[in-house]
Amino acid sequence: MNTRFSIKSTVGSAPWIWSYAAAAVMALVTITFSRASGGLDLLTASMSFATFFALTGVAQLFVITLGPGNIDLSIPANINLSAAVAMQVMGGSDTMVLIGLLAAMAVGSLVGLGNYLLIALLKIPPIIATLASSFVVQSIAIAYAGGYRVQPPPGLKEFVRAKIGPVPLMALAAILITMCLAVLLHKTPFGRGITALGQNPTAARLANIAVERTRALTYALAATIAAFCGVLLAAFSGGSSLEMGNEYLLSSIAVVVIGGTAITGGRSFLSGVWGASFFLFLLITMLNALGASPGLRLMMMGIIICLVVFLASFRNAGIGQAVFAPLLKASRRPR
């Protein structure tokens, strides 16, 4: 056995390190450019906002791990509906917080099960099935909430804004939940079943993994996490709104991939989701600090996401080799 420490092999087996490195660079650039605001304020803000990117990303990660083609496009609609349910059930009263939270998560798990049933019974590709279900879920949210904005209970509002030193309590709770989910994914038979399915469904079936049950539970789990995130988001932004989940559709996929997880499934890193979420928030902050127009900001975000994926596509090889090998191969190819 080779026991020598090697940076290359360490990074190769832990591609999520890149997302933290990228986040650190962004933090340095932002602090340098924004001069006035302190680093601690930035830490607090980035942890709060990264929580929402990360939880939606974690939900997406579980579905993506299931294998090629698996994706959940219903996360935004699910967030909108569950948050509306939670706020209405809580009705601004602290005693109902737990019941409201459970109600929202129950709604979420139903949405997830609905997604699975569409995929399995109708044999529709997940991208289309979850798109269709998101239409239905969004309609239910519109009909249910009817445009009213219910204030979150004061206790819950206090919790999502509470801090220990500079660290938001909500972010700590979310990180703890992510750790539990990491144990679930990597150490339990259920979680290993998800990964096995993503690597080779036939082998997983032969290894006696309950394929359909694993799929169903994974879609339900992902939707439940998204619903939980919806409740936090509604509490954080002073009530639920019918569009508040929409910006998390693309970001949930982006943070999974930037975090080093394979989009084709079977190889996932929950820690990377957090690194990528910090990166994404800091990127937005940096572009704001530079005074970029909204258009330029979006454009730069697109370029940087593509660039990160581009760099990640050859993190196992040396960068020089990776850039030139395909070009050489292309030039040698017969015309």
Binding site: S293, G295, I303, C306
Partner: protein
């Protein structure tokens, strides 16, 4: 194989006829030249965007940026084409070139197209916002005249879609080049062993996708009064749904150009249909989702009978 293909085109066609028939019964006044032009007024840009998506799906990739891309083309046309045609043409050609380059890079570096085009959707959205930060603009009168032309007997949007479907059918299903295009989605290695460049073919498909995306944006610009940077953002998911509804599969190079155009028409009509049967505004999106689910469920059932 022939029956399989027939079913693939037949089912969306039956769905489309059923929808149109129901609308005719509910509102007989739509059964006229004017009624039909109104019902199908926005079908052409959606069909063109669907075709753009189809080219990419044919080679086993997916394009999540097409909505933002079409928006960019539309705002470019309404902002520059009348006053500075050179800038407009330059921007549109540049967009096609960049889209083609993205396709080439995806193949060269084996990057997941779903993520790269996701990033590109931010890019094109940003570009569109920079061209037109506030809603407004004006398409050249000649463009409006072309897309709103009154053709005899059959309204222009329907005529244009039929011609589009026929031309694409000839290109993709009946020509040697089309076989190679679809073959790349079916068996990449076979294409490579035949001495062809997969990178070249995928670039060509992204070029065609970029071209039709720009066409979609230009036609959309002629149809609307004023544009904003988000004008076509729902085309991304609409186009994917239409391709699949029209009998396409995400893998294997199995696509049907006629089916895709019919799928686009079905989804366009679904919206009109729902307002005709007095579905409350709150439930219209949901009912659209339900129509999509029913149409795909029917497809699943017919396919199971075939096997």
């Amino acid at each position: 194989m022939i029956t399989l293909l027939q079913y693939r085109v037949l089912l969306p066609l039956v769905t489309l006829i059923a929808l149109t028939g129901t609308i005719f019964i509910l509102q007989p006044r739509t059964m006229s030249y004017f009624g039909l032009s109104l019902l199908f007024s926005f079908i052409l840009p959606i069909a063109l965007a669907t075709v753009a998506q189809m080219f990419v799906i044919a080679v086993n990739e997916i394009d999540l940026s097409i909505g933002a891309y079409v928006s960019f083309a539309t705002v470019t046309v309404v902002t520059y084409l009348d006053t500075d045609p050179a800038i407009a043409v330059g921007l549109l050609l540049g967009a096609i070139a960049l889209h083609t380059a993205v396709g080439a890079l995806i193949q060269l570096f084996q990057m997941p197209s779903i993520v790269i085009t996701l990033g590109m959707s931010f890019f094109w959205g940003g570009c569109a916002l920079m061209v037109r930060p506030l809603p407004g603009g004006h398409a050249p009168d000649w463009l409006t005249a072309i897309v709103k032309v009154k053709t005899p007997f059959v309204p222009f949007p329907i005529l244009a879609c039929v011609v589009l479907a026929l031309l694409l059918h000839l290109l993709l299903m009946r020509s040697a080049v089309g076989t190679i295009f679809r073959g790349t989605g079916g068996n990449e290695r076979a294409i490579r062993n035949a001495g062809l460049s997969v990178t070249g073919i995928k670039s060509a498909m992204f070029f065609l996708s970029g071209l039709f995306g720009v066409l979609s944006g230009v036609v959309l610009a002629g149809l609307i009064v004023s544009a904003d940077a988000d004008i076509a953002s729902n085309y991304t998911l609409l186009s994917i749904a239409a391709v699949i509804l029209g009998g396409g599969l995400f893998v294997g190079g199995i696509v049907s150009p006629t089916g895709a155009v019919i799928g686009a028409a079905t989804l366009t009509l679904a919206a009109s249909f729902l307002s005709f049967i007095n579905v409350p505004a709150d439930w219209q999106t949901g009912a659209q989702g339900a129509i999509l689910i029913i149409a795909l469920a029917l497809r699943g059932i017919t396919e199971r009978y075939e096997h």
